[in-house]
Amino acid sequence: MEYMLFICSDPAAPKYVAAEDNIGQWSAEMEARGISRHGDRLRPVEDATTVMVRSGQVVVSDGPFAETKEWIAGYDIIACANLDEAIEVASKHPMAKFGKIEIRPVWPFGQ
């Protein structure tokens, strides 16, 4: 199964310590196990743009600026045997310690 990991910030999490950030090691392990498909960081919401079409008009705006202190800081698409493996993979990600990770199953069309 494919899962998308949303790497989220969490104001309640312990402070980020660069020395404990082992993302390189994580990526290497997941790649070696054939689990990681694709992943990256995301620019902060200040750089986000929202697009919608209303009455045939394309409406573009800055943001969104939701009233939340949690935001998605990155993502990874992984391929796992089941949710338990996805949980294990997510729990080893450094941001599980400094933030939190939401696991969402990918829902392929036709299913």
Partner: protein, 468 residues
């Protein structure tokens, strides 16, 4: 013959004798079905889910099988092996459903499942799901990715075989709400890829703790129900005990057996005083005032034996007691004492100390303080409670001022006691507890009838009945 009887009864032409025969036949069918529900649902579900991998389909097919039984058994009689009968009917139903799905979608996966299902046909329930199959079912129902309330409901439905209506009633929610909760839980198992398995060694410890927590929660939901609905919620208590028995059986020989035994003992100790803990008016009777004659001695003896067995297994494996074993040992001190006054509170305080080490919590500390008060005197207990009060970790928890008030009352410091009883009254969560506190508060009023002694012995004629 039976068909004729049913038809006649329906037409209103049957004589009284025939009506009675029909009624008793129905009672037979119902009780046979209920017995199968309680004993076999886990096995049948375990088999259906293992083969089809589809929780929703398994649920539907089992429902159909029970409906068929209700129609078929009064006519043809209860089959010799009802569990096997239901498994066969449910399996055939699953084959039909999968066949039509497969022809609709030409799905290859379904065809593979069909082959396995049809392979089961010859053995039709004669090869019942083994211990592993049922364990797989329990571990999956209690997966931490499901909401806690969904885990409890799913375990009751899928493993214990309670109907959705029964579970809804026990949780005091509409049936539609409970049904939605169950459907959502099954959908998540499928869509999120929750594996149907006994977890691998690196996960088994925390997942087994998770199961024990679900079962204890189930028990407490029923046990701590207030007087108005304690009867309605009793099935939760009984099912929790039954499921824990099953788990003990399934975990025999595993490193988790002692804690499962400890949990079962703990439940039995609590359950042994079900009659004594509420008086005729539904008021809460505190442990020290309970009529010990009405405690269920058989349950107490069984629980004590279980604890000894847990100890033996644990010693042979060199494992330290976990939180359920410690709590059960504490309950044992209370339940095996001849009177409240002769309880070994020194041991109780020590056990709470050990419990605080492995599962630190202010509630445990509060209980330790109370035990210290009972063994070393109210002043020693009061000092510990005041530390907790100052730490403010139990702010808003009614038992802290209630316990403090009890100690002050024992010390004869009435006005302070009554102030703390009032504080507790404001925080108490239910009417049963408020009634108890109000009664205590009245006793601390300026003109006491001297009816309460500081060291009151239960059974000495000042039972809760006379106190009001």
């Amino acid at each position: 013959m039976a068909v004729r009887t049913v038809a006649l009864a329906a037409a209103g032409e049957a004589d009284a004798e025939e009506c009675q025969a029909v009624a008793s036949e129905w009672a037979d069918v119902r009780s046979a079905l209920e017995a199968v529900c309680a004993g076999e649902t886990a096995r049948i579900n375990a088999t259906l889910i293992r083969v089809t991998g589809d929780w929703g389909l398994a649920e539907d097919c089992l429902q159909d099988a029970f409906a068929r039984a209700l129609a078929d058994w009064p006519v043809h009689g209860v089959p010799r092996n009802p569990g096997a009968w239901l498994t066969t009917v449910a399996r055939n139903r699953a084959i039909d459903r999968l066949r039509s799905m497969a022809s609709e979608k030409r799905a290859v996966g379904e065809l593979a499942v069909l082959t396995e299902l049809e392979g089961l046909a010859g053995q039709a329930g004669d090869a019942p799901a083994g211990a592993d199959d049922r364990l797989r079912l329990i571990y999956t129902c209690c997966h931490p990715a499901l909401a806690l309330e969904a885990r409890v409901a799913l375990t009751l439905r899928t493993v214990a075989g309670l109907t959705t209506a029964e579970i809804a009633r026990a949780f005091l929610v509409p049936e539609a709400t409970m049904s939605k909760r169950l459907v959502r839980a099954r959908a998540k198992i499928r869509d999120a890829g929750i594996p149907y398995r006994v977890p691998p060694p690196e996960l088994i410890s925390e997942r087994t703790d998770g199961i024990l927590a679900v079962l204890y929660l189930m028990f407490n939901e029923g046990y701590s129900a207030s007087s108005g609905n304690s009867l309605i919620r009793e099935p939760l208590v009984l099912e929790a005990i039954r499921l824990t028995r099953l788990l003990v059986e399934l975990l025999a020989g595993s490193p988790h057996e002692p804690e499962a035994l400890g949990l079962l003992a703990l439940m039995l100790f609590h359950h042994a005083r079900r009659i004594a803990r509420q008086d005729a008016a539904g008021d809460l009777v505190p442990l020290e005032e309970q009529d010990r004659q009405s405690w269920d001695q058989a349950a107490i003896a069984e629980a004590a034996t279980l604890l000894v067995a847990a100890e033996k297994v644990a010693v042979s494996r060199g494992t330290n007691p976990g939180s359920y074993r410690l709590q059960a040992a504490i309950a044992e001190c209370h339940m095996t004492a001849a009177s409240s006054g002769s309880t070994n509170f020194t041991r109780v305080a020590l056990l709470y100390g050990s419990l605080a080490e492995i599962a630190p919590s202010p509630v445990v500390e509060l209980n330790r303080a109370v035990a210290v008060a009972m063994s070393a005197g109210p002043l020693a207990g009061l000092a510990l409670i005041d530390q907790l009060d100052q730490a403010r970790s139990l702010q808003g928890y009614y038992l802290l001022p209630a316990a403090r008030a009890d100690l002050l009352r024992r010390l004869g410091r009435r006005s302070e006691a009554s102030r703390d009883y009032r504080r507790a009254l404001e925080l108490a969560p239910s009417e049963v507890e408020r009634r108890y506190l109000r009664r205590r508060l009245k006793e601390t009023n300026p003109k006491p009838p001297c009816a309460f002694a500081i060291h009151k012995e239960p059974g000495s004629g000042t039972g809760p009945e006379e106190e009001r």
